[in-house]
Symmetry: C2
Subunit: 283 residues, 2 copies
């Protein structure tokens, strides 16, 4: 495998991607915050199926963390990330510093409505502003043909689609299935915070979601089964459940039984917050 | 003169500009709300000095009007505008409808801080959100090399520069001197709302600003001379003065005497709101 090109300036990124595109090569982007795991690598693989060149950004974006959140302790392991990207066949790693992305005097914020309403926003009010702003910057900087986002962050995927549509960003957004361990736990950089006993509990999140989605698809009452699911998670050892909610899959509007649905959840294990989501198959 | 190409879809705009750029032609953009006057035409001339192709957008952007403002009565005269653009040598007029720019479900807002603080924002709180959002869309849609904005809307020019810097939009922003009538009145589409007697009064705005800027440059007290200037405008027949304020020219931060300054004003003649600004030459 060739080593990926590593650049930390917007100018170098832009020049390389422009050269590729002018040579007729299709370019895919995978925005990440590093601490790469098998979920990220699956995004790179999908990117390489869709394009001749794959750019991976590694940037722990401070504007999507609240002051109380885990910005400082968020795992950073660049050398290991670059090894994984080389093994996966990515062509370029964009590793900007904070001042490259947010120079002194930076003062702009992008707010996306629609699918950002509720769910994560109820608990992380500025999160999607931070995501939308950095993703718009990355897309304007790199000008890729397409970009791959994991369905693990399902609401984020919907927000990014809305962002591109609203700002006319000519980037095709590809949603990628969540990668899970053998017990159903969704891959997440935050799993690194969990001890062995907590991992056991964490694995129940997906199981409870799948059961609940099956009950919803079979016609069960939405309020009843989501309340029961929250109770089941607390019984299993979760400290707190932020939400379990059924939404329309395409828009994240309230779910209607005649539309494809998505069941989304966020819950706390100790000081670690986990999210997951599953499809609700329409009957 | 050749007729300008007229397109009303983003796809057609994007295709034409891409063709020009791929042919090695530099493309300049002049965003307007139509009702073109000599001020706009001067922007087209400057664009044609800087680029081989000039795109002019004509779009009365609803998101920069407050519900109480003049969106419905804002002058619209497309046929006349196209005649003027042909005479000026513009190559393409982009005339999207509202649903082309803001399709059903549109939900994104761009907020630029920094130079947007105070001045217009004190009186039109959502104005620059509307401007920033539509300008970002136009730049992403057209992908011009440069764009020309008039210094008449000086705060807007500063906000657009900040927007491009913050979102990494690769568009060079060119500020163009304000075009005035023989009596100093800045050209504005809103001058069309004024009767002959009001036009006489309107011409005092620039004279008062020039006198006041000269006094500031000569060392006069800022609060004293700006208060006197507001009083002078009311005496001259203005119904109300929203602000007269000295700011640092580059950032619109509070003016310091060792920096280049700008004196900016907004005032009402009957139901018409006029703005203007002049340089404060440092001593």
């Amino acid at each position: 495998m060739n080593e990926p090109i590593v650049v930390d300036s917007v100018t170098a990124l832009r020049t390389q991607v422009r050269d590729w595109r002018q040579a007729g090569l299709r370019v895919a982007m995978v925005p990440t915050m590093g601490a790469l795991h098998d979920g990220h690598i699956s995004l790179v693989r999908i990117a390489l199926e869709r394009a001749e060149r794959c750019v991976v950004s590694i940037f722990v974006n401070p504007t999507q963390f609240a002051p109380t959140e885990d910005l400082d302790k968020y795992p950073r392991q660049l050398a290991r990330d670059l090894d994984r990207l080389r093994d996966a066949g990515a062509h370029l790693a964009f590793t900007p510093g904070v001042t490259e992305m947010y120079p002194a005097g930076f003062a702009t914020k992008i707010s996306v409505g629609g699918p950002s309403g509720g769910l994560e926003t109820d608990f992380r009010p500025s999160f999607f502003d931070g995501v939308a702003t950095v993703v718009a910057k990355l897309f304007v900087q790199a000008a890729p043909d397409c970009a791959v986002f994991g369905e693990k962050d399902y609401q984020q995927l919907c927000v990014v689609r809305q962002l591109c549509r609203d700002l006319d960003l000519p980037v095709e957004i590809i949603g990628a299935p969540t990668v899970r361990d053998a017990h159903g736990l969704a891959m997440s950089s935050r799993n690194a915070y969990l001890g062995e006993a907590e991992l056991e509990i964490a694995r129940k999140l997906n199981a409870v979601l799948r059961q609940t989605a099956a009950r919803l698809a079979a016609g069960a009452d939405e309020t009843g089964v989501t309340s029961a699911a929250m109770e089941a998670l607390v019984q299993a050892g979760f400290r707190k459940v932020d939400y379990i909610a059924a939404r329309e899959a395409a828009t994240l509007a309230p779910w209607r039984r005649d539309r494809d649905g998505r069941l989304l959840a966020a819950a706390w294990l100790g000081t670690t917050r986990l999210i997951d989501n599953v499809e609700i198959r329409s009957a």
